[in-house]
């Protein structure tokens, strides 16, 4: 339970940064890109910045790598996202409908004022 949550936490933290999500996007668009290729797509960042973000994504299991000559190719691994998303949807899909019921119940007790101006 706890050991499992460490992986979940890594995924959430990895997805928290918009640059890293953009990197994932780039890999969705074309899988198996090298660091160089990814650097070309992010001119606002140096190679080191890109590498750091890729390292975070790899540590979270969202990206796998494989060497090909002197290049390191990065492949997207959507499995962790799938798993986390499934867990969270299952958790919050139920309250979603229930919240509507709660809202209705609440409105009966505490109706909002109409804008009758």
């Amino acid at each position: 339970m706890v050991t499992y949550d460490a992986a979940v936490d890594a995924v959430f933290k990895a997805l928290a940064d918009p640059t890293r999500r953009a990197l994932l996007d780039a890999l969705v668009e074309r899988d198996g890109q090298s660091v160089q290729a990814l650097c070309d797509r992010f001119p606002d960042m140096t190679r080191f910045g890109v590498m750091k973000h890729l390292a975070v994504l790899e540590a979270a299991g969202l990206v796998t790598t494989r060497r090909e000559g002197r290049a390191k190719l990065h492949h997207l691994n959507p499995v962790p996202i799938q798993q986390v998303a499934d867990r969270w949807i299952a958790k919050y899909a139920q309250p979603f409908t229930r919240a509507l019921v709660d809202l209705q119940t609440q409105l009966e007790h505490d109706p909002p004022e109409h804008d009758t101006a």
Copy 2:
């Protein structure tokens, strides 16, 4: 597109912290809790820490509040999670199956060594 992404980013950043996810869990378990009630569930944090996290969740639209007397009740709003999850599942569900195809293609070119020791 950009204005929309700001909201998405807020949701991701809000979910990045395990304490905030735990707060959401507490609201799933029992909706409409006051700051005090939530503080009781997190003895390792002061009231101010809880308040800050709740503010982040509220700014991301994941939590809505309503005053009742001198208490401020916090309600879970699963809609943003639903929306973000839907967008991301749609984006990464397709590459999931495609990745298997890519893997198979890749294995034909670069087969892994067997552990035949």
